[in-house]
């Protein structure tokens, strides 16, 4: 879903089946200089392309077909980690708790103060910006890792698993000198400043391997 375009301006998505409400929300969001895109249903939203930019979703709990809470679960299942701000015409506590537990940024009952919504949108966009950055870093890291040769990947997994060069050599049946060459290539290709840095990268990639 994430496109390869360079990061752009943040976008706020609104999904509300009431045309008056979504119109007003769009106007309010645009009035503070943010981009707003409004949809009448979850399906319409899913059909749209998400930009390569920080974004968040303002979602009505009561939606035709799929409810807002079900939609939240659906998004989580499909790994679309967009921060969600719920709005509802008639919210109750169990519903709020459920939404917040599932990671919602905020749960607002209509009619709400504009500042509350705008603050929540800021929090959501910040959260998404961070997530976006982390995701981009992770993607870059994975790209570098995937550029390694299979043997280099193996050496990286064993070295970051805490094995000495000699042990690595014994483990995969090559000479210690060859291990040293691979290790130098790994450190250079991964742009690791130190062994500790390489270990952190291996952690993020989830590839550290202990001695078998």
């Amino acid at each position: 879903v994430v496109t390869e375009r360079p990061p752009g301006d943040p976008v706020v998505f609104v999904v509300d089946d009431d045309s008056s409400v979504r119109g007003a929300l769009g106007s309010l969001i645009r009035s503070v200089g943010l981009q707003a895109e409004v949809f009448a249903s979850a399906a319409e939203f899913l059909a749209a392309r998400l930009p390569d930019a920080p974004c968040c979703l303002v979602l009505d709990v009561r939606l035709p077909g799929l409810s807002g809470l079900d939609f939240q679960a659906e998004l989580a299942r499909t790994r679309i980690n967009i921060p969600i701000i719920f709005i509802t015409g008639h919210g109750d506590i169990p519903m709020t708790v459920k939404a917040m537990k599932a990671g919602a940024v905020e749960f607002l009952t209509k009619p709400f103060r504009d500042q509350e919504l705008l603050d929540a949108i800021q929090v959501a966009l910040d959260r998404d910006r961070t997530r976006h950055r982390d995701e981009k870093a992770a993607a870059a890291l994975r790209a570098k890792y995937e550029a390694l040769t299979p043997r280099e990947q193996e050496v990286m997994a064993l070295v970051t698993g805490g094995l000495l060069n000699k042990q690595v050599a014994g483990e995969i049946g090559i000479t210690e000198n060859t291990v040293k060459v691979h290790r130098g290539n790994v450190t250079r290709k991964m742009a690791a400043k130190s062994l500790a840095d390489l270990v952190r990268m291996a952690d993020l990639l989830g590839i550290r391997r202990a001695k078998s």
Partner: protein, 520 residues
Amino acid sequence: MDASPGTLPGAGDEALRESEARFRELADNISQFAWTADATGGRTWYNQRWYDYTGTTFEEVQGLGWQKLHHPDHLERVLKRFRKSFESGTPWEDTFPLRGRDGGYRWFLTRALPIRNDAGKVVRWLGTNTDVTERIEAEKALRELNETLEQRVEAETRERLQIWNVSQDLLMVADLEGRYLSVNPAWTATLGWPEADLLGKSSQWLLYPDDREPTRAEIARLAAGEKTSRFENRFRHKDGSYRWISWNAVPEQDRIYAVGRDITDLKDAEGKVLEARRDLAQVARRTTLAAMTASIAHEINQPLAAIVTNASACMRWLGRPEPDLDAMRAALMSIGDDGHRASRIIASIRAMFGKDDPERAALDMNEVVRGVLALVQGELEAHRVTLHTELQQDLPNIVAERVPLQQVFLNLVMNAAEAMSSIADRPRRLSVRTRTHDPESVLVTVEDWGPGIPAKNMVRIFEAFFTTKAQGMGMGLSICRSIVEAHGGQLWMEGGTPHGSVFNVRLPVRPPQEAELGGH
């Protein structure tokens, strides 16, 4: 051997013989035994009948020889009276058994008269024995019968008295004014009052005030010859509490006979069932109300949220270095539109609940249906339901209560909308129609294009606690039906064509007067 009656004194030979022959002829042909005895009782002659029966000879029975034919049980008594008569010269009369030639005994009434001479002295006795066995046996049988009868009557009386005494039911005999003449001990056991407090008075002083007049009327009916069956009234116990008694009574010859049973516990149980039913109906109404409140809150909050948000947006557009007049105009237009929209919603809610009086009034069912549809419009849109209405123009007004009927249609419409929420391959079409069913009633149908209801559930869906919904209590349709029936109408369902369900509500133009309404 023939016995001779002996020589009759003062008679000539010829005349004597003739007289004797006649006598003998007579004596031998009478049905009784005849005999003569001398002054002391010694037998001197027997007639032929005697010998025929006893099978004896004169020698055996002459003098006092007859005694051997007597039954030993009776002999002493017989001799006592015999001696007394013969000694005093008074007639001898006795009844006793005599042994026949076959060894069996028969009963004989025996009479003997003294024959006196001119000087008044007893010269001999003339006696007869008459067979009275059949009479004696008949008497004995009768006596035995009487004894048995007496015993039986006595036993039955005892048993009946026992029933009277041990009965748990109140038994009572009263006159036609209802004054108690007799009451059984169950009265004291059940009501605490001793018999003496009850007799001679009617029940009026004991009755629950509301029951006095109906009881008086019931006694009047009894006095007029009618029977009472399961008449119920309340009697005051001596402890002040009241007991429900159910009566069966019959009049009979200036008397009333009545049986009463204490049904207080039964009544209490009945009351509890009714109470539970009322509570359930209450819960269901509250549930409906809660659902409606949520729906109303949502409906009103939508335009309010839009208004508030647009106002804020407008302020912010205004606050920008270069205010965006187009955006502000659009926001202000929306604010106006949403204000009107909120007002329309409130108007439709007022139309529903404004006239909150339980009185029946002339109702236009089209208006009722429109009010309900206005209220659920948002809900129907949320369910992506296409609404189709066919409301007959000149529909007659019906006399009914507004709010319960609105609940009925609200329920039916919401059920239809929910039923169709799983339908994806065809329009979710809801049709509501009104029309004149017959001159006396109006028919409202709510038809959906949902999955329909399996035939096996078609009857059950109207039962309390039956539900096909995950969150349903199963009260909706059962309450709907009772509301419709309280208006003298009918609620039934049938399968739709080609799919879905059709709920029909038939309401009479004039409901039955005495019907109590289900929903308030």
